[in-house]
Amino acid sequence: MSKRIDVEHLKVYYGDFLAVDDITMQIEPRAVTAFIGPSGCGKSTFLRTLNRMHEVIPGAYVEGKVNLDGENLYAKGVDPVRVRSQVGMVFQRPNPFPTMSIRDNVLAGVKLNSRRIARSDADELVESSLRSANLWNEVKDRLDKPGSGLSGGQQQRLCIARSIAVRPDVILMDEPCSALDPISTLAVEDLINELKAEYTVVIVTHNMQQAARVSDKTAFFNIAGTGKPGRLIEYAPTQEIFNKPQEKATEDYVSGRFG
């Protein structure tokens, strides 16, 4: 279950402030798409419009369309709660639920909306999700311990397991490795590579090597200055972005001449 995302003329606001201007792009299913660009250019803001998390901030709203396999997420009558269970999100800092055990963390999303799940199905789902997140072998003996007792990298993989347990169509990741050590980062990157077999994966990263390592396509965002809106500058296969970018700004950025 992997879906294509079609963004049409999307503008993203925080109150009066236009944070991201007029984005139009297509994000492929069964692929990893990376967003890169200098800090503050609106990568996170844009990413959060893809599962309607943006609007949980007071005063925040969008104009334009985000189509998931042709269905506009912002159409009238679409329930943002349903959108978020279709489009999962992994955050910058690992955020397992501290009051829940590892097992309950994995099942947290599954048990929402008063859905019931048989114990054996739950066990299976916990195992398969944790296996998919490359975490099973590390935690199988302490599923009933709190998730907050794990290392940062393990916590982040637990959050990924929690996301995939809901069987989303898309997984969004906002700098998922920025709070992790290099070894954990490698583990998560491996995982991202495996996830694209089944999901549409979108990852924000400020680490260009990471973008080069994990992504199939890369989108470069930039801002003209503080207070100006972020824009999509260039969007192409990752090899092209890093080897023969069309835009001067992209070339400057990927060659480390600014940002």
Binding site: A75, V81, P98
Partner: protein, 340 residues
């Protein structure tokens, strides 16, 4: 072109910090300033501060011990006295138990009414109401806390009590088979249930104010984790806000319980007290605090010791309640929000 905007935020952001996003900077802020050692002024200032807090803590303990000592010392004659000398003529125990039971009944009624309402109002303010409106509601609730208890008492006795009699009639008609609602209700309405209702209104601001603060401090990251999984706002509250605030809710309720058990003026005015009566809507029952207040001015000799002994009992009960609260809170430590 579609335009989507939510007028009501799905959660509040404490201290106006930007949530989630643009976190690179706030991360540094959070982590960079924890090291106590490199605060300005160095270790000397730390030592002074540590000394001050130690003294402050010690003073509290000394005061507590002094109160306990005074109460025990002044109360002690009653424990040696012949039972015929104690009010009621059957010894201290049979004198005190109806008062203790009355205190507990009034407090429990107050808690049962105030806790759900207080938590609900706090949650409404922190997570549901439009921000500007929320401020107004919070302000009004805080004002309740500033009203002197004698006003609550006067209002309870002169307005609430007479008005509530028809409700008691109705209650005894429907639930009269239960001993606690056995009729006929008093014609004055001055019952322990009325006192409990007045107490509930008085402790409401304590619960609301504390819960509101704690609810608003729930980490945005956790709330977003829940929403990101497809939780509704209510599910998000159950998954993150309540677990995070559990210890705080218990503390606020215990604080409120302490206030309700010790409250004197309102109960004295509202309740026309008497001996123990299982029916909450008939006259009778009395609380420890009210009993002391009513009789203290005229008391002398052994009667004075007796009232102070009653005070000692109240003191011990409040301590026990607080200890129990600590126990409950520490049981949840491993799974608390503190180690997130």
């Amino acid at each position: 072109m579609s335009h989507s905007s939510s007028t009501v935020p799905e959660f509040s952001t404490p201290t106006g910090d930007q949530p989630g996003q643009g976190d690179e900077n706030s991360d540094h802020r959070r982590e960079g300033h924890v090291a106590i050692g490199d605060a300005k002024g160095g270790p000397a200032q730390d030592r002074v501060f540590a000394g001050v807090t130690l003294v402050a803590g010690a003073i509290i303990l000394v005061v507590l011990a002094a109160v306990a000592f005074f109460l025990t010392w002044q109360a002690s004659p009653i424990f040696g006295a012949a039972s015929s000398e104690v009010t009621g003529g059957k010894g201290f125990l049979s004198y005190i138990w109806p008062l203790v039971v009355g205190t507990l009944i009034a407090s429990v009624i107050a808690l049962l009414l105030a806790t759900p309402v207080g938590i609900g109002v706090a949650l409404y303010i922190s997570h549901y109401a439009p921000p500007r409106f929320a401020k107004g509601v919070g302000y009004v609730i805080d004002l309740l806390a500033a009203i002197p208890s004698v006003i609550f008492g006067a209002w309870g006795a002169s307005v609430l009590a007479p008005k509530i009699v028809p409700f008691y009639d109705w209650l005894s008609g429907i639930l009269g088979f239960l001993p606690i609602f056995e009729g006929p209700p008093t014609a004055t309405g001055k019952t322990i249930l009325t006192a409990g209702i007045v107490l509930a209104i008085m402790i409401l601001p304590i619960i609301t104010a504390m819960c509101r603060e704690i609810f608003a401090q729930t980490p945005v990251l956790q709330q977003e984790a829940a929403l990101g999984l497809g939780a509704t706002r209510w599910e998000m509250v159950r998954m993150t806000v309540f677990p995070f605030a559990r210890a705080g809710i218990i503390s606020s309720v215990m604080l409120a319980l302490g206030r309700a058990m010790g409250e004197t003026m309102a109960v004295t005015l509202v309740l026309s007290g008497g001996p123990f009566n299982p029916s909450l809507i008939q006259s009778g029952n009395q609380t420890v605090a009210s009993e002391i207040a009513l009789n203290f001015p005229e008391a002398y000799g052994l009667r004075l010791n007796e009232l102070i002994a009653a005070g000692l009992v109240l003191f011990v009960i409040t301590l026990v309640v607080n200890l129990l609260a600590r126990l409950v809170i520490s049981r949840y430590k491993e799974f608390s929000g503190a180690n997130s």
